[in-house]
């Protein structure tokens, strides 16, 4: 287990460096953020030089990347064009997004597994077919469309909750956006748990378990469910990263003051340093989440530990 953990951690390092390098390269080597900042308006040479120095743009690329990496690892994310510390911005926005992501993940996990398990146990039945068709529809409708539909139906027509989220973004306010955020993945979780359950139900060891005289409930709980949920948990962990991407749209639609909204706004005004900082944080979350999934996977499936 220790060897395995070490290997996974070692594996994570090049992925993190590679991904941040990729982002940094894309943003700073292919465009001139200062020009974007000025918005095409003329800017005095002195101001421009100061700005370049401030964002280390007067240095060679590798030095820039080195400084950026050092800052990132010491948790110094720099400042926005308007002079705010990105640290502060992220620190303010992160808890909101974390809350949103946790709620979305919980919705996915609970409803996805429950629906998926029942559909899988009665494969081919009415419940199964209904769930399957609904999941296809949900997968097909883009998140931003879902967002508008939910906003319109639950926020405007039914008036159950406010259609947009205020600056405080409490748990209750986030139910609607979290549902929208989690809905597409929810459909995938349902489909995944359904196929897993159906597959394991016909596995040899499940038949052997029945032959031992175990009750049906125990067979399903101990032998079918545990084996089926291993890939589902892996999916949920990897999905945390996807939720970060989805948060950009959802937070934009519902006006949630989270990290996705920060990115959304930074993109709108072309504020590259903020984009790089926020995306790097997201990559970090994604990589760490994947590491956690790998370790959890090993805990759940004994075969992995020795591989």
């Amino acid at each position: 287990m220790l060897m395995y953990t070490l290997r996974r951690v070692l594996h994570m390092v090049p992925v993190f460096f590679g991904a941040t390098l990729l982002v940094y390269f894309l943003v700073f080597a292919t465009g001139d953020p200062i020009a974007a900042l000025s918005g095409g308006k003329p800017m005095s040479d002195a101001v421009e030089a100061t700005l370049r120095a401030q964002y280390n743009l007067d240095q060679p690329f590798w030095v820039q990347y080195g400084i950026y990496l050092k800052n990132l690892l010491t948790l110094d994310l720099g400042t926005t064009f308007s002079g705010q510390s990105v640290n502060d911005v992220v620190a303010r926005a992160m808890p909101v997004t974390a809350r949103l992501a946790v709620m979305a993940l919980a919705i996915e996990a609970i409803f996805g597994v429950v629906f998926g398990v029942f559909a899988g146990l009665r494969k081919g039945g009415i419940f199964d077919s209904t769930v399957l068709v609904l999941s296809l529809v949900v997968i097909s409708v883009p998140t931003f469309v879902l967002g508008f539909v939910f906003q319109f139906v639950f926020g405007v027509k039914l008036d159950w909750t406010s259609p947009t989220v205020g600056p405080d973004a409490g748990w209750g306010d986030l139910i609607l956006p979290a549902t929208v955020l989690g809905l597409v993945s929810l459909a995938y979780v349902i489909r995944l748990s359904r196929t897993q359950i159906a597959e394991n139900l016909s596995a040899d060891f499940v038949r052997t378990a029945s032959a031992k005289g175990l009750t049906r409930g125990r067979v399903v709980l101990v032998h079918v469910l545990r084996n089926s949920l291993i890939p589902v948990i892996t999916f949920l962990g990897a999905d945390l990263g996807m939720l970060m991407g989805g948060a950009i749209v959802t937070e934009g639609v519902f006006n949630v003051p989270g990290i996705g909204k920060v990115l959304f706004d930074a993109i709108k005004i072309g504020e590259s340093p903020t984009v790089v900082a926020v995306v790097s944080v997201m990559v970090l979350v994604f990589v760490v989440a994947n590491l956690a999934v790998d370790l959890l996977y090993a805990l759940l499936d004994p075969r992995i530990r020795y591989a």
Binding site: M3, T208, A211
Partner: protein, 547 residues
């Protein structure tokens, strides 16, 4: 039947049982009007080919049919009570403590995510044997099944067990609650013969001690006759013959049973007739293949980052005489397939030489190697994997001709027809695709493809192991016929000594990468020189029944 044993009620009595599966192509009757009875403490074996319904009928007795399967007729009486239409709940009362099961494949029948001990423990608990020192009870159950160091082993996961150990764990689960009937579905067919014998012996002793009745399901008539008092032969979903084991074996009545006994390799005692090969084997010194000090070392990664050497083939030397069959026999891990791959030039030897027709193959250039390919051809084990499913039979057989630029389109087509005829397949087969053919038919196509280039040597890597007995006999006969007609030399890689007996002139016995002994088949079967070989011979099921 009860007439003769009127004061005794059968433990399991299946009468006129019909089992139907709902498939995409409509209902299929897997078992029709089958009768089967097992007395207290009696051992009964159901023998049949794949698809004969033998497993289905046994599973029906435990209510474990697949979801699309249903008992659609007859009675299933266990201890006098009819279970033909019983619910899962009713079956649960008899599973475990009344009827136990030892399944076929030890690899897939243990749940990979739970410890062995847990899987034994839950069996005991489910049948009211919980309480007290469970760990001790579990260790005891495992020990009874012949698992050494049971207490420690109980704390391990299935993937830390070898195949034989897993099967012992499954036997311990099957017998842990002292059932009155044990259903053993091909309990050892996935294991090496020596392990198979140990486990069957142990199972025999345990069930005799406990007075457990056993229902064996097997494709091996020899095994059935050796391990059961009563044999039931099934064919196409019906029971065609049943009776006392020895009687049935010596005096078969139904033509199907006769056919089975005729082709059962374990019961045969001599090589298939082939005069030319016999002569060459006796007199010839004309070696088509000379293998000298062949060694292969694999680098394998151990836990962590260390790498270590694994000696797969260790200093092996033998010859194959032209026009004869040499068998390389050994259990899994003996290195026999690695030898085959090196002879085929698909793997490079670490050291040693392989001379083909006097030429050292290690020194062949790319071009010479291409020509060599024409002269040595393989036939592989898995009939489902050895033909490309995307290629029609015509393209499959034509491919070697095309690659080597032989003939034009017209002459190639004629050649394909001719080859199909050689392997006794209708010419119309060439428009078909592999998935439309059975395993034996596919293997015959593979032989036709191998013959297309008119090779001198054919390497058969477990070429008949995956086939049913009758089909296996048919393919072996075909190989023998082709050898006589075309003067082919065979290098026959197999784990099955019974097959060796039927086809080989010379034998090489391998174990753990080393050559144990080699010589004429007759000599080795009559007077094996090493203990290992005599153990192997001894383990052939039913080997001593009809001699």
């Amino acid at each position: 039947m009860e007439m003769q044993n009127k004061n005794e009620q059968p433990l399991l009595d299946m009468r006129d049982v019909e089992i139907t599966f709902n498939t995409a192509n409509g209902p299929v009757k897997a078992v029709r009007g089958a009768n089967l009875s097992v007395m207290q403490g009696e051992s009964v074996a159901i023998v049949g080919e794949s698809g004969s319904g033998k497993s289905t009928i046994a599973l029906a007795a435990m209510g474990l049919l697949a979801r699309n399967g249903k008992v659609t007729g007859g009675q299933i009486l266990f201890d006098g009570k009819d279970y033909a239409a019983a619910s899962d709940k009713e079956f649960r009362h008899i599973r475990g403590d009344q009827i136990g099961m030892v399944p076929q494949d030890p690899m897939s029948n243990l749940n990979p995510v739970w410890k062995i001990g847990f899987q034994v423990k839950e069996t005991l608990k489910a049948n009211g044997l919980g309480g007290g020192d469970m760990n001790k009870k579990v260790a005891e159950a495992l020990e009874n099944a012949g698992l050494p160091d049971a207490e420690r082993r109980a704390g391990q996961y299935p993937h830390e067990f070898s195949g034989g150990m897993r099967q012992r764990a499954l036997i311990s689960i099957g017998l842990s609650c002292r059932p009155r009937l044990l259903v053993a579905d091909e309990p050892t067919s996935a294991l090496d013969v020596t392990v198979q014998r140990q486990i069957l012996d142990h199972l025999d002793n345990m069930t005799a001690e406990l007075g457990t009745a056993v229902l064996f399901i097997t494709h091996d008539l020899g095994l059935a006759a050796e391990r059961a008092e009563k044999v039931v032969v099934m064919y196409k979903g019906q029971v065609v013959e049943s009776g006392p084991a020895i009687d049935l074996l010596r005096n078969p009545q139904h033509p199907y049973t006769k056919r089975l006994i005729d082709s059962a390799p374990s019961l045969s005692s001599h090589r298939m007739e082939n005069e030319a090969a016999a002569q060459k084997s006796a007199s010839g010194t004309d070696n088509v293949l000379e293998i000298e000090n062949l060694t292969k070392v694999f680098k394998i990664r151990e836990k962590g980052l260390k790498k270590s050497d694994f000696l797969a083939v260790d200093d092996v030397s033998f010859n194959v005489r032209r026009g004869t069959t040499t068998a390389v026999v050994g259990e899994s891990g003996s290195g026999k397939s690695t030898v085959a791959k090196m002879v085929l030039n698909l793997l490079e030897p670490t050291s040693g030489t392989i001379r083909f027709d006097g030429e050292d193959m290690g020194r062949l250039s790319e071009k010479e190697l291409f020509r060599f390919r024409r002269r040595v051809q393989p036939i592989f084990q898995d009939p489902y994997g050895s033909l490309d499913p995307m290629y029609s039979i015509f393209r499959t057989i034509e491919q070697p001709l095309k690659i080597h630029g032989i003939g034009d389109a017209r002459s190639r087509q004629n050649k394909v027809k001719e080859l199909l005829e050689h392997v006794s397949m209708p010419a119309s087969t060439m428009h078909r695709f592999p998935n439309e053919l059975s395993g034996g038919q596919r293997q015959r196509i593979a032989i036709a493809r191998a013959l297309a280039l008119e090779p001198e040597v054919i390497i058969c890597d477990e070429a008949v192991s995956a086939l049913d007995v009758l089909v296996q006999a048919q393919v072996l006969e075909l190989l023998n016929k082709l050898q006589a007609e075309l003067g082919l030399s065979y290098l026959f890689i197999t784990h099955d000594l019974a097959v060796v007996r039927q086809i080989a002139d010379d034998v090489v016995v391998m174990k753990d990468g080393q050559l144990v002994e080699s010589g004429k088949t007759d000599d080795i079967f009559a007077t094996p020189q090493t203990e290992y070989t005599s153990n192997l011979l001894d383990a052939i099921p039913g080997g001593q029944l009809l001699v």
